[in-house]
């Protein structure tokens, strides 16, 4: 059992959720309520990580993280080391890959709020930010919780993109999913089995909790 890898995966999951959720909420809100041309294109862009092979995403990210790209140079000057094959690079990749898992549940939840509830809130004297805080946020909470858990669980399980942009550096980029792959390659089926089971149970528990929570939050009586 590679505890370092498990710890790294959990850290990566939490960091991804913490960074992605606020950004995804803004994006989801824009997609749910905004009136603009090209919504279909933006939605397609957000959904892209769902269908692209992880190797394709990984390849583009690796290119973008490289010393030749402006993004790579920016982080190089910020961190003092390259973004590729670093924990920070993994977080950034994870945020991008998880975009659809975070945006879609929140967008659906926000779109499901009847428009006249938001109008009524404005007629009650609530400023736009208060409408978000007092009406939209609480009513979309089940969707937000779903987004958080999906993102977290999906980050724990992400393999292809992590391997492409992170490699398998212990304590830096070797997540539990990578560690399982390494153990299998080394014919250490016992360790691989234990870690696979841990990942399975963790994911199942997380999904179970959200589903229950989401149902409870969505009930208003």
């Amino acid at each position: 059992m590679d505890w370092t890898a498990l710890g790294l995966s959990l850290r990566l999951g939490l960091a991804t959720v913490a960074i992605l959720l606020p950004l995804a909420f803004l994006l989801a809100r824009w997609l749910a309520y905004g009136r603009f041309k090209g919504r279909g294109f933006v939605e397609a862009l957000v959904a892209l990580p769902l269908i692209l092979p992880p190797t394709v995403i990984g390849f583009y990210l690796l290119t973008a993280f490289g010393q030749q790209s402006p993004l790579g140079q920016f982080f190089q000057s910020l961190l003092g080391r390259p973004l590729a094959f670093s924990f920070e690079g993994l977080v950034l990749a994870s945020v991008l890959v998880n975009l659809p898992f975070a945006v879609q549940p929140m967008q659906n939840a926000l779109a499901a709020i009847p428009g006249n509830l938001r109008d009524a809130a404005r007629c009650c004297g609530l400023a736009p930010l208060s409408v978000v805080r007092r009406i939209e946020f609480p009513l979309a909470l089940p969707g937000i919780a779903t987004a958080a858990v999906l993102t977290f669980a999906h980050t724990l399980g992400e393999f292809g993109v992590v391997l492409m942009v992170g490699g398998s550096i212990p304590g830096e980029t070797r997540t539990i999913a990578i560690a399982i792959y390494d153990r299998v390659q080394a014919f250490d089926d016992r360790s691989a089995g234990v870690m696979a089971l841990v990942l399975l149970v963790l994911s199942l528990v997380a999904l179970g909790i959200t589903n229950t929570l989401a149902r409870r939050m969505a009930r208003h009586d």
Binding site: N116, L117, D119, A120, A121, C124, G125, A127, I135
Partner: protein
């Protein structure tokens, strides 16, 4: 607006655009009035109401509330909805499903000290007869209770104007009169200025003081309910509206021995079967033109309580070629009578002719 600002108007509205929803309306809402925006479905009434609240922005719009500019498209100005003192009761009430009745009302109260806040919430709960329901969520309330919550929430802001979108459309027919009565009492008690959108002319007759008729996004008639019903020139109502006058009357006295109530609508005095309203209360009455009989002499031996001295204003054709609509004045109070053309001949009814109007007590509909 070109005319001098009317200081007594709670609201001045002027909206114009050709697409996507055609609008061409201009009207004033007198302070302390219940102004009905009446018209068929899809005539643009609700869009007008939303424009007043700032929830919709027509291309050309001017909305002034009690001297305060809310919308002025010419100057590119629009006060955000949350800063307009409006109360809006949505057709489906639009209650917040995650908040209790107390929280819904509290949300609309804005910032104020906790003590004053609770006191005001309790006051509004009592006003809307919601005592005992404060900690319930909307899903557990009946339709009528939900409507009262929506009303209490709309009143919480102490609105300069209360806007109601089809408030009785989703209420059981049998309950409507009671709810109209509640709304009217509340409006009088708080001296509210109310705009109500409706496609049910009963709301106009029983509730409204002023009427703006809208069709295809344009005003086709506007004025007081009394004047418009008395003129009998109500466009778009042919076949739906039987000529009648709708008047406000004061309860003058109750005659318990004869089980009658005496009403006074300005110069018109009427006796009607006892109604449940205290002396000095204002009630709305409707007298259908077909219920008013005309006579040249005072009749004897009839089961009649109301023999009224009136004067003919004019005689007009009616919906049927054999009938005439006679416009009468009792002092300065209007009355309509639907009679045959033959009767007009034999009674020699012409402008300024004196005539007696006979109205059975049971022919006067009174809405307390």
């Amino acid at each position: 607006m070109t005319e001098t600002p009317n200081v007594r108007a709670a609201l001045l509205v002027r909206l114009r655009q050709s697409a996507p929803i055609p609008l061409d309306v201009e009207f004033a809402v007198p302070s302390g009035s219940i102004t009905a925006l009446f018209g068929p479905s899809g005539s643009g009434k609700t869009t007008v109401l939303r424009s007043i609240a700032g929830l919709y922005a027509p291309l050309e719009a001017e909305v002034v509330s009690a001297g305060e500019r809310w919308t002025d498209s010419a100057a590119g100005y629009s006060l955000p909805t949350h800063r307009r003192r409006v109360g809006f009761v949505f057709q489906d009430y639009a209650l917040f499903p995650h908040l209790t009745v107390r929280e819904q009302i509290g949300l609309a109260l804005g910032n104020r000290p906790a003590g004053a806040r609770q006191a005001r919430i309790d006051e509004l709960l009592a006003l809307a007869r919601l005592d005992g329901l404060a900690d319930r969520k909307p899903a557990t309330l009946s339709g009528g209770q939900q409507q009262r919550v929506a009303l209490a929430r709309a009143l919480a802001r102490d609105p300069a104007v209360l806007l109601l979108d089809e408030p009785f459309a989703s209420v059981d027919w049998a309950l409507r009169d009671a709810l109209r009565h509640e709304l009217r009492s509340l409006q009088r008690a708080l001296s509210l200025s109310v705009v109500i959108v409706t496609h049910d002319f009963e709301d106009v007759v029983k509730l409204a003081t002023d009427l703006v008729m809208i069709d295809g996004g344009a005003v086709v008639a506007a004025g007081t309910v009394e004047a418009l019903t008395a003129s009998a020139a109500l466009p778009g109502l042919a076949g739906h509206w039987e000529p009648a006058v709708a008047l406000d009357a004061v309860v003058a006295a109750h005659d318990s021995r004869r089980q009658l109530t005496h009403l006074r609508a300005r110069d018109l005095q009427l006796s009607v079967p006892t109604i449940e309203a205290p002396v000095a209360a204002v009630v709305r009455i409707r007298i259908a033109a077909r219920e008013v009989i005309l006579a040249s002499q005072r009749p004897e031996g009839l089961s009649l309580h109301n023999v009224i001295q009136a004067r003919v204003l004019r005689v007009e054709p009616a919906s049927h070629p054999a009938l005439r609509l006679v416009h009468l004045a009792v002092g300065d109070t209007p009355l309509l009578s639907l009679v045959t053309a033959d009767a007009v001949q034999s009674l020699k009814l012409a402008a300024d002719a004196p005539v007696l109007a006979l109205v059975k007590a049971v022919s006067v509909e009174a809405f307390a």
